[in-house]
């Protein structure tokens, strides 16, 4: 014992304390570089004259002006609004409905849950491939209906430039609604059973209990689900590529595919960067307030 040991253990204690920082440092550095650094880089590109290759010449807001003058960008934004709105609402309705139905002491609940949720495990490319085949005007659902005797049935949305974006909604809802179901079901199971029993004792009917007590009490899950779905919608890329390729023409483009096309196929780096920044701004507008309230709420509870 004595001084020498104490300084030695002091040293190890010092290293131990720093180990924690040392261990996190690589990830943190990577995040600083690959997330924040890259955002800055893209942000700068959006203010530069870059076209085919990145250049550092300042162009002010020129790229943003060009972006907003492009018919195609307006189509993409409009599509995002249609797609996002329908996708979110439909997923919420189906997800909530399925969750409530599954919550009625259903015999094969496990199996049904598995079936409702499995599309979420698939790649959007796979989903797009299947639905492309199903919605194929010549051989898909249309011909199936004809065979079944409904000869006037027409379903050409996939190749109809006014309707193509709705096929993306159909496929996306098929893929993601089960996930919303899972979220709601978990929340329903978390509702205090005693409250429900008390309401039942008071003579409230089942629908009254659901609409009056249970659904209001899981309101935070609605918010979470909306945020997650909105986030998914803004990032949607693969599904459009696989299902419609953004077509016919560019009628089913979304901002994500627009950016990709500009940046990698049209040699419009500046415009691509500007559109990417617009996407980032949109996602941040949704996520930041949400995360802020979540983290603050978490602190209050914990």
């Amino acid at each position: 014992m004595g001084a020498s040991q104490s300084t030695e253990s002091n040293l190890t204690a010092g290293i131990q304390r720093h180990l924690s920082k040392i261990v996190v440092a690589p990830s943190f550095a990577a995040s600083l570089f690959f997330v924040y650094g890259f955002i800055l880089w893209t942000g700068y590109m959006a203010f530069s004259k870059s076209r085919m290759l990145p250049v550092w010449d300042w162009a002010g807001l020129r790229q943003y002006e060009r972006l907003w003058q492009m018919e195609r960008w307006h189509v993409a934004i409009e599509n995002l609004l249609i797609f996002g709105g329908l996708f979110i609402v439909t997923c919420l309705v189906i997800g909530c409905l399925l969750a409530v139905l599954l919550d009625q002491r259903i015999r094969a609940e496990g199996a049904l849950r598995t079936i409702f949720l499995y599309p979420m495990a698939l790649s959007f490319i796979v989903t797009g491939t299947v639905w492309k085949w199903l919605l194929n005007p010549g051989l898909g659902l249309e011909s199936m209906m004809h065979d079944l005797g409904w000869t006037s049935f027409e379903f050409d949305w996939l190749v109809n430039s006014d309707m193509a974006i709705y096929t993306v909604v159909i496929a996306a809802v098929w893929q993601a609604s089960g996930f919303v179901m899972a979220m709601f079901l978990a929340a329903l199971r978390g509702v205090d059973q005693d409250i429900i029993r008390a309401a039942y004792m008071d003579g409230a009917s089942l629908p009254r209990i659901y609409f009056g007590i249970i659904i209001p009490s899981i309101r935070p899950v609605f918010l979470s689900a909306i945020v997650v779905l909105a986030h998914l919608a803004v990032k949607s890329f693969d599904l459009v590529i696989a299902l419609t390729g953004g077509g016919p023409g560019y009628s089913s483009d979304l901002p994500a595919t627009f950016m990709y096309t500009m940046a990698f196929q049209r040699n419009q780096l500046g415009v691509g960067a500007a559109s990417a920044m617009m996407m980032l701004a949109t996602v941040m507008a949704i996520i930041v307030p949400y995360l802020y309230s979540e983290l603050r709420g978490g602190k209050k509870n914990g």
Partner: protein
């Protein structure tokens, strides 16, 4: 909700009808979700002629695995007609290291951020977390530049790096939230027992992390295997992952459209993640909700 029925007084026909309706609706929904999968399987087992003549829902009259065989061994991706198998292995070579590395880093980050908190640990975590939510379009351009500079363009190693970097935030989130609920006293007890940072991690923390490791591995595997954006952007040609190859097969406009091959290739692409889902559905759902809800 489960207990309500025990109190139910209005048994009798009304109740029976309602229950029947309930099951009917659920079964219809199940059919809706299963329909594409069944069509995919049945189409992949038909010959092209049968597809043209028959209906979407008719089961194959003659079951043939030719389409599967063709998709695996011969299908053309671009000009290369080597089948989807080499891209399957590309995906494996990309996913396995990326999953392992990002999970390990997430574990040690989560451990450091919760059990050896330093000043600013919360800020570091919040900054890391932010990466989960950015639309990746915003990093595509600089990433392709950097990969080019590093000589990793169009390589599997490059893709591994990309997936590790952008998967980190999720794995860190998983492990951090898990470790927050593990009592600090465990670490204190081990400290008094004389164990240090890494000893505690290896001997005590990691052995009790199995559930969250499973969640993280499944989540990362699904994400990376299913990724298309990074694959399409950074790995063209012979190093492309399977999703990119599938999209290529399906969208080639030359030659006769072989729907059965498309479906077989799609099934092959979806099979690994479906398998994981069937085997470990519980953890899959936990990852989904943890990754998307709790900040």
């Amino acid at each position: 909700m489960a207990d309500i029925q025990t109190y139910s007084h209005d048994a009798g026909w009304k109740h029976t009808v309602l229950r029947g309706l309930l099951y009917l609706v659920l079964i219809l929904f199940a059919a809706y979700y299963l329909f594409p999968l069944i069509v995919m399987i049945s189409t992949s087992l038909k010959s092209l002629d049968e597809i043209r003549e028959g209906s979407l829902i008719s089961l194959p009259r003659v079951v043939t695995f030719d389409a599967w065989n063709y998709a695996w061994n011969e299908a053309c991706v671009g000009v290369e007609c080597t089948g989807i198998k080499i891209y399957f292995w590309n995906s494996v070579k990309m996913a396995v290291p990326a999953v392992l590395i990002s999970t390990f880093l997430g574990a040690i980050n989560g451990y450091a951020l919760t059990k050896w908190r330093f000043k600013g640990a919360n800020i570091v975590f919040a900054l890391l977390l932010f990466g989960c939510f950015i639309p990746f379009q915003v990093v595509l351009l600089p990433m392709s530049q950097v990969l080019g500079k590093l000589g990793l363009a169009s390589s599997t190693a490059g893709l591994v790096m990309v997936h590790v970097v952008y998967g980190l935030c999720f794995t860190t989130l998983f492990f951090r939230n898990y470790y927050v609920s593990i009592p600090d006293e465990l670490v204190k007890a081990a400290t008094i027992d004389g164990a240090g940072f890494f000893t505690i991690f290896w001997r005590i923390i990691l052995p009790i992390s199995t559930p969250i490791i499973v969640v993280s591995v499944i989540w990362q595997f699904t994400q990376i295997w299913n990724d298309f954006l990074f694959g399409a952007s950074f790995a063209s040609g012979a190093n492309a992952p399977m999703t990119v190859a599938l999209n290529n097969i399906v969208n080639t406009t030359t030659g006769v459209k072989q729907y059965n091959v498309d479906m077989a290739a799609a099934l092959l692409t979806g099979l690994p993640t479906l398998l994981v889902y069937v085997l470990a559905g519980k953890y899959f759902v936990r990852g989904l909700t943890a990754g998307s809800v709790k900040g």
